[in-house]
């Protein structure tokens, strides 16, 4: 067993952290959040320097690195700023399905497009009723391709995306019979509408996407038709780890800020870091970050070995999202009144952190899945 990162991994970590420190302007971050704008310039720069799509194959604009390296980058970005970090991390949301299951043509078409910052790709799988099997959005498969009808909810970056990767039901009577389809957003029959303002993660629009008789050529079907459900499950597993990385970043960012502030801020003639109430919090925050990091790195490592450990992956998202929430909460508390004010530059970490408890599935659902695993109700894959 070796808990050390490789030299290459540490270099990536350092480069990502330096990029974030240099490019994420704190005032601009508040402004993006307030105006609900995607950080376009920062994203372009990040793509230019190769921080987006590091896990893509080299011939398709990536560096052929693992999920762990991706985790290190997402962590460093979210540590510097929760909002910008998440926006960058989600700029190619769903591309993993192409990396894992796409054919050469699809990879050639989409992956460099994402890695070079030419446009945004997202995926659409959630629906109003939350059922993932069966889905209500239907793809009717014919010889030349398929026709899609239905509606997807909570599509991140839906209104900004150039491509949407949509998971659809092929046979309503077989819950797992699904297909993954690559769609250009601007074609006929696709309508995007905003789901409104959000508590946090405000740099990323969240939209509803409606499909009316959308014609899809056969070359846009990703992987085998009928394997969609398993593609989605694998993608969600990968995303849980990525959410874990966002969680570590936000938790560590909250701790960084709380430490800096509490050593500087004096009350009763002493820095507040010298008071028991604050010291307890700082120690707990430090513990939370370390726990979240250990399990998320382990989850990413297991994914990279090709034998992902579902239980560790579930726990990673649960632990890291809780750590993010708690640390952001306590960082706000340590800042006091200033912490509640936007200009304190910590409160958006708190609003942003909460999304991790909701994203993909809330902790209670993950607990249920984990309980299925450990009580033997579900078979390990």
């Amino acid at each position: 067993m070796d808990f050390h990162l490789t030299i290459e991994q540490r270099d990536i970590q350092k480069a990502a952290s330096e990029f974030a420190k240099g490019e994420f302007d704190p005032d601009a971050a508040l402004d993006y959040d307030l105006r609900q704008q995607f950080p376009l310039t920062v994203w372009k720069n990040a793509c230019e320097l190769g921080f987006v799509g590091v896990h893509f194959p080299e011939e398709h604009g990536g560096q052929e690195l693992g999920l762990l390296e991706n985790v290190l980058i997402v962590e460093a970005f979210c540590r510097q700023d929760s909002g910008i970090g998440m926006a960058l991390a989600l700029s190619g949301f769903g591309s993993e399905m192409i990396v894992r299951n796409g054919n050469e043509d699809q990879k050639k078409r989409i992956l460099p497009f994402i890695a070079h910052g030419e446009g945004i790709v997202t995926s659409a799988f959630l629906e109003e009723g939350y059922s993932l099997a069966p889905l209500a959005t239907a793809a009717k498969i014919s010889k030349g391709g398929c026709i899609v009808n239905g509606m997807k909810s909570f599509v991140t970056l839906g209104s900004m995306a150039d491509y949407i990767i949509v998971v659809c039901q092929t046979r309503p009577d077989t819950p797992n019979a699904q297909v993954v389809i690559l769609l250009e957003r601007k074609i006929d029959g696709i309508e995007v509408s905003s789901m409104g303002e959000k508590v946090g993660m405000r740099m990323i629009p969240v939209d509803q996407v409606a499909f009316t008789n959308v014609r899809v050529p056969a070359e846009n079907i990703i992987g085998q038709a009928g394997t969609g459900y398993f593609q989605l499950q694998n993608f969600l597993n990968e995303m849980r780890i990525k959410a874990g990385a966002m969680g570590i970043g936000i938790a560590q960012g909250g701790l960084d800020k709380a430490l800096e502030y509490s050593r500087k801020r004096e009350q009763f003639g002493k820095p507040i870091a010298s008071f028991g109430a604050v010291r307890n919090k700082l120690a707990d925050m430090y513990i939370d970050v370390e726990m979240a990091r250990l399990i998320t790195y382990k989850a990413a490592w297991s994914f990279d070995t090709g034998a992902p450990d579902d239980r560790v992956i579930l726990m990673s998202k649960m632990i890291a999202s809780k750590a993010a929430y708690r640390n952001a909460y306590e960082a706000v508390q340590i800042y006091g009144g200033y912490g509640y004010m936007t200009e304190g530059q910590i409160e958006h970490f708190y609003r942003d952190a909460k999304v991790l408890d909701l994203f993909l599935e809330p902790g209670q659902i993950q607990r249920n899945i984990l309980a299925d695993h450990i009580t033997g109700k579900a078979r390990d894959r």
Binding site: G196, Q267, V355, Q364, N368
Partner: protein
Amino acid sequence: MHKNLYRKEHLLFRETFKTFLTKEILPFYDQWEKEEIIPKEAWKKMGRNGYLCPWVEKEYGGAGLGLEFSFIITEEMAYAGVYGLMAGLHSDIVAPYIHSFGNKEQKKKWLPGCVSGDIILAVAMTEPDAGSDLSAIRTTAKRDGENYIINGEKIYISNGILSNLVVVACKTEIENHSPHKDISLICVEDGSPGFSRGRNLEKTGWHSQDTGELIFRDCQAPVSNLLGEEGKGFYYMMEKLQQERLVSAIMSQASAEAAFNMTLDYYKQRKGLHQPEIPIDANGIAEMATDIEIGRTFLNSLIYDHINGEDIIKKVSMAKWWTSDMANRVISQCMELYRDYGYLEDYKVGRFFRDVRAHPIYAGTNEIMKRIIGRKLGI
């Protein structure tokens, strides 16, 4: 005992106020949240209908009701998620300074306006370097003939932009005594020479609440605006903080109850529609309901004791930290029962989430509450 806290007339009053709130305040509230300010007209509407300082005696324009009527207003406003129009601050936190420590002329001059809503009140304690440590305030007031000349800056002042009258904690004697004996409370009126407002600060929640900076540059306030005696301000504040913390606990408890009830309704409705995909969390819901019940029982006993003039400093410090932590815990969990919808502003649980994050901070941070409890326990 506190089981009999509310009688028939209280229930009637509550219902009448709820009707008023539903008709006169709630339809406009989303708009005010966007505009980040409450129109002064809304304050006056509250006043004209008898919902500001209802406890003030008739000779000063009030209704002469018990304090619990005022608490009912605060509670109902918190149930409705109306934090911006902070009647509780005005009626039960600031007005009592004038009522308890003001002389007859001062009361005659200001209290009728406080009741009618023509005067909106604020109290200014916090400064950039004096948050939890109140004795560290630097704003000074020096006597010059018939005036005090006030210099300094106050920050995070609720009603900071709208207020017509601000009770300002100043140092009147600089370091002659212990820091606690230098502080005096002076009323500064809108338009006083040298008094200006800074920014209306952006914050996590309470968007329609004006949280402002107050600036005093050779500000002149007549000596007759001093509340009580010079040098006693620190003790006055300590005395009044008991009620401030009770008001804060009432708001936290009511927020938790409101968000929980809303979530429970939503949960039942969604569960019927999409049973397998909603987190089956009867355990968590039962725990939340238990937390809320414990909080309510404790709080009502404190309201009862406080109204009957008992010293509840230790217990109200406990209630302030516990109910505000509980409210944040419960509401955060409520959001998860909404799944992604909880994150959308349209679903309101998210607004509760943003709003209640203020509660563990204001009216003395929860860490200060625990310090007070510790002292009361002799440690």
